[in-house]
Every structure is written in structure tokens, then in C-alpha cells.
Symmetry: C2
Subunit: 348 residues, 2 copies
DNA sequence: CAACATGATGGAAACGTTTCCAGGAAAGGC
DNA sequence: GCCTTTCCTGGAAACGTTTCCATCATGTTG
């Protein structure tokens, strides 16, 4: 039907027998236009299937609109929740969202930011991979409204606002819960690699252990990256090496997955032989047998709030550090009192 | 640092002491520019932190670029895989992706399409919600390169190319597998509502039953929408009403989830009391106890291929019906031979 | 040395929009 | 009847880019 190039405002003006300024006024709603004229313009536009070009408008108004969203991986359930939150908020603001995945690679991330800046998006929301320097320069010179970090902040970049889950409180609650059940040998799966500074969750774990008077066992804090192979290796190593652990706190859902899988392979009953809990409440936590106790981090809310902060609450930005959203402990069936260990021995 | 408005090509030209045409040539790589001049321009651009505006370029070139991607729900694992596939392909083509979720609402979907058309994207990939008429007009008049459907096609729209999983073969294989294990009373969870035409999966199920000589029992083909509450209700109704079913084939991962949950609540052992299998291989299928047998549909490939079809293989489009990508049966532990039913009775 | 090919460069027009400005008509007050 | 106010309308400039065309300098060939 409409095979040729899309109709422009000029076409509509010509068809309606008016000037282009009038057509523009009809579509932007500004100024005043006679009722009869408006009708004629609308009819012509409908006839020609006219849609104002965001390019022309953006150029003239010096803002393209749209927001950029950079996540490590769209298939990660938590990231997906966060994306959904951003989408929901963007929708209320009439903005579209350009999504891309950096897969934890700072170079790739920088590439994406470059592209978004060229697109002249109104702002960028990111779960940053790293490279504080690149972000610093991007935030300064780059996208109009600026940058907001979600779920993760970068050390040494206090000037970039962030919306985070209150992991500290979440891990503290979970650790207290495990200790309260009677556990004394609790492993932490997902510590920092030797030489790198510990993350918030690890620090919270250590602090809480301290606070409740359980001595920390360095051998039970095992380093692992949140990737399937790293997580699996770490979990297997831990549970084989230390038959005496009675509880495992996994610092992320991939770590939790690994713990569950390894426990099953070693024929450990959950929670009779070992209790398992993790940070990140993902759908499979409920499907698991037994269902997994987890700290639910509000991915959707984080995304929504980050988007608000980026576009609406510009003024309120950067005041008083990052926005913290509460995490909730979902108690299910995977944790129980520790088995009564006699000499810490278990055959196998 | 660079607080003011972003530098334009004019600023760079002035700073480098050349004409804007020369700057443009340097950045587009067209034409010929002296080495010394090029260096001067590049230096000036770096100094001013200049990035060419996609708006200006798009306006001049009459194409904005970017592709629109409409899914029902970004948090659905299958959709997420598909998005990842599109992102991967778009990256190789240097395009960005605008993602939005329609949540199964045709009106919302139309709204999103409208917006994408205004953005003058190069094309749209969609898991369409419905409303063939709206899509017909959108495809005709709308986005430059057109529309490609992914994972789902709309009846009566053969002119819109589609990339689909070979669900027919997938369900056939799975049904044959269950029948081969000896099952005769196999339930199909996720049939069409009464009055609406059955989907591909349901037809494949019926046909295969026919082919292997198992009489179809209409009471075992239960209608359910792929939403948690609908799925749960249908699964509960089925397993309570018909204690004699020995296998359940769930037509989607949400249906499968419901089946697993209901079976657990009714204290049915899987697969001793009832075998469960589903379409869609999602991460939790492996985490389940026992791990769930499932038909793996290639979400990533579908997205990738749809994107290719949209932007690269334009010529090859629409030839010979939809592109079918193979689905693979992942045999795990959730299916076994039927229990030896005596009169179909089971207490409870 | 002249004619010419070649390469580097700048000016200007176009892309589709918004908006300022000015002009014209209608209406109201003296 | 004239001036002022109000409302509606069209022309034109600008937004940042690409690209056609013309210009000019340089090097090559006869």
C-alpha cells in the first residue's frame, strides 16, 4: 500500500492546504489552531499514514530521548527483573529503552556507552562491569541527564548516584538466621579472590559472625565468581574438603545452584546433612526440593527506582549516598538445625 | 569538565581550522583527506570530546537504525534467551536494540509499534500478542526494513516472515518418548480454550497419539493459559480429578512448573507415580528433583536468526514459509515407565 | 612548457522538525 | 469609522549531519 518513503510534515501540509507550521502545531498541541483546520490536517495525516519523525524532532529539540540500559546478561533472572522495572518506569514517562549486555567486559561496556552517547539518549542506567575511569569520563561528558548505577556501584565514584539492594542487611539477617538455628560451621560461597577486596556480602557475613560470637573460619570462606563453572568448582571443592560444614550461604543464585547440585551429587540431604541458603530469590528456589531459603533482592524496584532517579528526581540525585532498597529473607525448607556432628565425621 | 552542550561538527571544524565537510569525511571514512589534516581533525575532536550525532546523521541519511524488539515479558527465561540472541546478532551488525514488553496486550503492543515507527527503526522483531490486522498495517506502512515474527506467528499473516522452533517435531518426539515408555494415559496440559482453535503443540500431541495407536482421551487434554494461576488451577484440577494419569506433558515451562508443584503437594512421586515432561528447557529443569525431561527450544538461535532475516537476508525473506529451527529432547530423570495400575486406583 | 589528471578542500543544499516572528482577519471598544 | 486586541496562519531559520559540486594546488605526460 504505502510503498514509498514515509510521509513528511510537508506532504501533510500540502495535502491539507496549510503551512507546515500549522501541521506541527496540531501534532505538538502547542499554539492555537482553528477547529476546521485541525480536522483537515488530521484527516490528511491519517490519509497519508503520517507519523512525525523522532529524528527531525530530536534534532530540532536537541534531545533524542530514550534511555540506555546496560546489564551484564539479559538471561540472568535478576537482571531480567531489573530490566522489567526499568521498562515499567520508562513506560510511564513515555521513553523507550535501549538494552544491551556487556557480559562483564569493561571494553564492551565502554563500546556500548559510546554508542548510547552517539544516540544522544536522555540517560544511562548500568550495572557497571568495572573500569571506574571510563565511567567517570562518560558521566561527565556524556549523556544528557547522566548516569545512574543500579544494583552495583563502583568504588571511587561517589558522584554517580546508585540504587542498590540492602545486601548488607540481607546477608546479616540470613547469617543471623543460620546462626540462630545453631550452626557454627557456616561456609560462605562466593568470596573475593585472594588479593582483591571483599565485597559487601562477604563483609556483612564476617561482621555478623563476629557479632553473634561465631569464630570465622577462613577456610570456609571460599572464593568464586558468579559463573557456573567457577561456582561449581568452588562448591565441589568446599563440600568435599570440609565434610563438617553444616550450612552453606551462597552469595548469589549461581552459587546457590552449584551448592544444590553438588550436595545432590554427594548424596547430602538438605537440610538434614547440610543447610543451604542463598542471596537472590529466583523462580527455581521454590521449585527446588526442598524449596530454597533465599534473600529476595528487589530487582524490579531497583530498576524502577533507578529510572525515576535518572529522569524525574534529577534534583534529588546524589544526596546522601546510594539509595538502599530493602531485601527480604524468604524462609523455606532448605535450612534446619545442624546435624549432631560427632567429631565432625561423616563417611564419604 | 565538558559541561556545556555536546560539541558539534562545526566546533571541530573551527578548532581544526578546516571546513565541516572535511571533518565529516574524516569520520565517515569516505573521500580522501590529507594525513596531516586528518590528524589535526582527530586531535581537535578528541580535545572537544566530539561524538557525531546519530540524529543529524540519521536525518540526512533517512534511516535512524536500531531495531525494535517486542516480547511478552522480559523476565520469562525463554524470552530472555531470545533477547540475548537478537542482541548478539545486532551487535555484529552494529545496530542497537530497543526492547519493550507488551504483556500479551494487543493494545499495548500497537502502542509500542507506533513508538518504534516514530523512532524510524530499521525493523521490528516481535513475539506478537495478537491482532493480525494491526500487524498487517504496521508491516505495510511502517518500519523501513519491515517486521519479522519470532517464536510465534499470527494466523492469516503469511506475508510476514517468521522464525519458529519446530514445536511440532519437538512435541512429537516427546509424545513418542512417553508412549514408548509404556504410557497410555498421557495428559496434555495447556490445550486451547474451548471454542478457540488448538495450537501447534496440541495438534502435534493428538496426531502423534494417533500415529502410535494410543486413543486420545479428551478429558486429559486440559485447557490452560501459560500464566501461573491458570496453569496451577489446571494442573491441580487434572491431577485430582484423574488419579489414573501416568504421565503429564506440559506445553510450556509455566505449565510444567505447575505440574511439578501440584504433584509435590499431592505427594505423588516423580516419576514413580507420575511422569512429567514439558516443552521449554529452562534452567530450573536441571535443578528440579528429579531433573525434568524437557524439549529444549532454541531461544537464542531464534532471536539471532530473526535478526539476520530482518537485516541481512532481506532478499531471502518470505520464501517457503516460516524458518523452523530444531528443538531437542533433553531426557532427564522425570519420566519412567508407568506404575502398574490396577484398575487405575490410587488412594487420595 | 602546456595540457591534463589527480587529490585535497570548502561551500551549500538537503534531510524533517519546532518555533520565532510577522501579517492578516475578525471582533470589540471608543 | 478607527484603533486595539485577539486569534489564526505561513514564512523562514535553525538543529547536525552527508554529499554534490566547484575550486585550487600539485604532479605527470606529451
Amino acid at each position: 500500500m504505502a510503498g514509498g518513503r514515509p510521509a513528511t510534515i510537508k506532504d501533510v501540509a500540502a495535502a491539507a492546504g496549510v503551512g507546515i507550521a500549522t501541521v506541527s502545531r496540531v501534532f505538538t498541541g502547542t499554539g492555537s489552531v482553528g477547529a476546521a483546520t485541525r480536522e483537515r490536517v488530521l484527516a490528511a495525516a491519517r490519509e497519508l499514514d503520517y507519523r512525525p519523525s523522532a529524528l527531525g524532532r530530536g534534532l530540532k529539540l536537541r534531545r533524542a530521548g530514550g534511555i540506555g540500559l546496560i546489564v551484564p546478561d539479559v538471561t540472568d533472572p535478576f537482571c531480567a527483573e531489573l530490566i522489567a522495572g526499568v521498562l515499567a518506569c520508562a513506560r510511564t514517562l513515555g521513553e523507550h529503552v535501549i538494552v544491551d549486555a556487556a557480559h562483564g567486559d569493561p571494553a564492551r561496556e565502554a563500546e556500548i556507552v559510546e554508542r548510547l552517547v552517539e544516540q544522544r539518549v536522555a540517560g544511562v542506567i548500568a550495572l557497571p562491569a568495572g573500569d571506574a575511569a571510563a565511567w567517570r569520563s562518560a558521566a561527565g561528558a556524556g549523556p544528557g541527564a547522566g548516569v545512574v548505577f543500579a544494583d552495583r556501584a563502583l568504588p571511587g565514584l561517589p558522584e554517580i548516584p546508585a540504587v542498590l539492594a540492602d545486601d548488607r542487611a540481607g546477608v546479616r539477617t540470613l547469617t543471623e538466621y543460620l546462626a540462630g538455628l545453631g550452626h557454627r560451621r557456616i561456609a560462605f560461597l562466593g568470596g573475593a579472590a585472594p588479593g582483591t577486596p571483599p565485597g559487601v556480602r562477604e563483609r556483612a557475613f564476617r561482621d555478623t559472625l563476629d557479632a553473634v560470637g561465631v569464630p570465622a573460619d577462613e577456610d570456609l570462606i571460599v572464593a568464586a565468581r558468579p559463573e557456573r563453572d567457577s561456582a561449581y568448582g568452588a562448591a565441589a571443592g568446599l563440600l568435599q574438603r570440609r565434610g563438617d560444614v553444616t550450612a552453606v550461604l551462597a552469595a548469589g543464585h549461581l552459587l546457590g545452584e552449584a551448592a544444590v547440585l553438588v550436595a545432590r551429587e554427594l548424596d547430602l540431604r538438605v537440610p538434614a546433612d547440610v543447610s543451604i541458603a542463598m542471596v537472590d530469590d529466583v523462580p527455581w528456589a521454590e521449585l527446588c526440593d526442598p524449596p530454597l531459603t533465599a534473600v529476595a533482592r528487589p530487582g524490579h524496584d531497583i530498576g524502577y527506582r533507578a529510572c525515576e532517579l535518572l529522569l524525574r528526581d534529577r534534583a534529588r540525585r546524589g544526596r546522601g549516598g546510594p539509595v538502599l532498597l530493602p531485601a527480604e529473607l524468604m524462609i523455606r525448607g532448605s535450612c534446619g538445625p545442624p546435624r549432631t556432628a560427632r567429631g565432625g565425621g561423616r563417611s564419604g
